[in-house]
């Protein structure tokens, strides 16, 4: 139900004229509530910014969400957060 609440509050703030971006842990719910911009993060419920006491990860998720703010809507956007940063992927072999 948190995801419906976030989507509804987000939509009302956006309608009032302030651009919004949310994090979602449950893509299926957010697709149905359809707020303007949501970043899907593949973490467990209760962990919207990834992990406690991990400032670097939390900051990367925040900035990924903010990147969506400049984008024009509609339609509603749901983007995937890339869990590993690009430099980690390049050295993954």
């Amino acid at each position: 139900m948190c995801h419906q609440s976030v989507g509804l509050i987000q939509s009302i703030i956006e309608k009032a004229g302030i651009p919004t971006a949310s994090v979602t842990l449950l893509r299926e719910i957010t697709e149905r509530v359809a707020p303007p911009r949501a970043l899907f993060v593949d973490f467990p419920l209760g962990y919207p910014l990834g992990a406690p006491n991990d400032a670097a990860l939390q900051t990367r998720i925040i900035l990924s969400a903010f990147e969506m703010l400049a984008e024009s809507v509609p339609p509603a956007i749901i983007r995937d957060f890339e869990v590993l940063p690009p430099q980690d992927l390049s050295g993954a072999d």
């Binding site: 139900m1 939509s11 009302i12 973490f43 209760g46 900035l63 024009s72």
Partner: protein
């Protein structure tokens, strides 16, 4: 990871069949200035409240649609949690409130010049609102008005 299929069966059945509400937000707003000039606020549904505020009422049928104002100056470690949902693991937000209300992260981003400033007021709801009529009609618009009063340029929202 989180998918509906990870939840308890009773939640899966409830959440799949639930008639989710939508609010028409079109045409949508756009960030009118650069992020490094923007004032940012957070709205979370983690049910945080300050020790001097009443806890959320977990007994209200349909869910407690009220909110708590969390001033920027709040020491996050003093915040309490009153969430009625047992669908999620509360350990993370209990050990680090920034996991849902990242005021320390935003302060650092403002100091680094990545964002312009952090708003003076942030907002905490308890997300378990199955009957959101009064959230939509009353409390969410109140929060939107306060964000406008504070000249907030962008809002980050986090569920739990």
């Amino acid at each position: 990871m989180a998918q509906l299929s990870d939840l308890k069966l009773a939640y899966q059945v409830f959440m799949k069949a639930f008639p989710y509400r939508r609010v028409d937000w079109r045409p949508g707003a756009r960030l009118s200035k650069r992020l490094r000039e923007a004032c940012v606020a957070v709205v979370t549904t983690a049910a945080f409240f300050k020790p001097d505020q009443p806890p959320f009422d977990t007994s209200i049928r349909g869910g407690d649609y009220s909110y708590r104002v969390i001033p920027l100056v709040t020491d996050l470690s003093t915040l309490r949690i009153a969430h009625r949902s047992d669908a999620f693991d509360m350990c993370g937000i209990a050990s680090d409130k920034n996991l849902a209300l990242p005021l320390d992260r935003l302060k650092s981003l403002a100091e680094e010049g990545v964002i312009g400033s952090v708003a003076p007021r942030h907002f905490s709801f308890m997300g378990s609102i199955a009957a959101p009529g009064r959230l939509i009609a009353n409390t969410a618009p109140e929060v939107a008005r306060m964000l406008l009063e504070d000249a907030v340029d962008a809002v980050l929202l986090t569920p739990v």
